[in-house]
Point group: C2
Chain length 207, copies 2
C-alpha cells in the first residue's frame, strides 16, 4: 500500500530508510551525506563501497563553495540537476561547454571528444572550480594532463563517469593526480550521481 | 591502460562489451536496444531483470513517436537528456512542468507534490504523449487516477522513478493501468534511465 506522506517529508523518510538498510555499516561522518545522497538518487548500495574520497575532500569542497567557486560539468543533465539557486546565492555558477558549437567544431577538426575540448575551455575560467564529470572519461584524462601541465588546479574533481570504455582507467588515473577528489570507483556513475554529489555538498551549506 | 578509440566508436564498443558480458543471456529482440541502452547509461546489469515491458510496448511507442507525439517528463534532468533534435524532426517536443511557478504554487496550496500538479497540466495537452517518469512516484499515481477517470490516454508510460518511499508500489500500480508501459520494477530507476529509454526509442527511428 501507498504510504501517506507529505511531499517535504518524502526525502527525510527516504534517508531514514537508507540508514536502516545500512544497519551497522558505519560511514565516515564527513562523507556520510554524500554517500547517502548518491544512494538516494540511484537506489544502488554499491556506492557505499565504490565511492572514494581523498583526505579532507568534502571539507575542502565546502570551503571552495562557500568562497563562491563555480562548477564545471561535462553533461547538460548534470547541469540541469545541480541546485543552481543555492550555488548562485554562494556566488557560483554551473558551466557546461559540451553543446557549444565551437567546441563541437574544434573536436571534429582535432578528432578528439567534445569533453576534452570542454575541459580546455574550462581551464580558461578565471575562478576556482569544482569539476563534476558524470559521463566522459576523456574529460578526466584531459584534466589530468592539464593538472600535470600546471594549467589547471581544481578545487575538487568529482570523477563519476559511467560506462565500459576507459571509464575505470580514467578514475584510477585521476585519483593519482594530486588534487582533492570524490570518485565512484569502477564502471558505475553518471550525470545523476555527479549532480547528487554536488547537491549533497551544497545542502550542507544551505537548504 | 587507456584504450585508444575514436569518439564515434566509443558507444559502439560499449554496446559490444555489454553484449559480451550478457553472454548467453537472450533478450527479447524488440526490447533489446532499450535494455542495453539503460545498461549503457547506468553500468547496472540489474536492469536486465528489472525492466518490464507490456506486450508490444516498443512497437507502439515507435509508432507514436513517428506520428509526432510529445514526451512529458517529471524532471529537468530527463528533459536535458532526451534527444530533442530527433524528437523535433519527428514533430514532437519535450514538456516538463515541474519548475513552472504556478505549478509550485498550486502544489503548496493543495499540499500535494509538484509532480501531481504537473501530470494534471499534461492532461490538458491536446496531443498524444509518452510519459517519462524518472523521479516522482506521485506522478505515476496521478497518471493512474487520470487514466481511470478517462482524462488521459498515454501512448506509453515509462515508469522508472527511483527511491524508497512509494516507488515500488507506484510501479506495480501503473503496470495494471491498462496502458503500454516500460517499467523498472523495484527501487531503481532515475532521470538518466528515463532519458535513456526515450533515446533508445528515438535512435531506432533515426540517428
Amino acid at each position: 500500500m501507498m504510504e501517506v506522506i507529505k511531499p517535504m517529508d518524502i526525502e527525510k523518510r527516504s534517508f531514514e530508510i537508507i540508514t536502516e538498510i545500512l544497519g551497522e555499516r558505519q560511514l565516515p561522518p564527513e562523507n556520510e551525506l554524500v554517500i547517502k545522497r548518491v544512494i538516494h538518487t540511484s537506489a544502488d548500495f554499491d556506492y557505499v563501497d565504490n565511492l572514494c574520497f581523498s583526505e579532507g575532500a568534502v571539507a575542502r569542497a565546502l570551503e571552495a563553495l562557500r568562497g563562491g567557486c563555480d562548477i564545471v560539468t561535462d553533461t547538460q543533465m548534470a547541469r540541469a540537476g545541480i541546485n543552481k539557486t543555492i550555488l548562485g546565492r554562494l556566488g557560483g555558477q554551473v558551466h557546461c561547454f559540451m553543446s557549444d558549437e565551437d567546441v563541437a567544431k574544434e573536436a571534429r577538426e582535432r578528432g578528439i571528444t567534445r569533453a576534452t575540448v570542454s575541459m580546455e575551455r574550462a581551464a580558461a575560467l578565471d575562478k576556482p572550480c569544482i569539476f563534476a564529470i558524470g559521463n566522459a572519461p576523456t574529460a578526466l584524462f584531459s584534466l589530468d594532463a592539464q593538472i600535470k601541465a600546471g594549467k589547471i588546479r581544481p578545487a575538487l574533481i568529482i570523477g563519476v563517469p559511467v560506462g565500459f570504455v576507459n571509464v575505470v582507467e580514467s578514475k584510477e588515473m585521476i585519483m593519482e593526480a594530486g588534487v582533492p577528489y570524490i570518485v565512484a570507483r569502477g564502471r558505475k556513475g553518471g550525470s545523476n550521481v555527479a549532480a547528487a554529489i554536488c547537491n549533497a555538498l551544497l545542502y550542507q551549506i544551505q537548504r
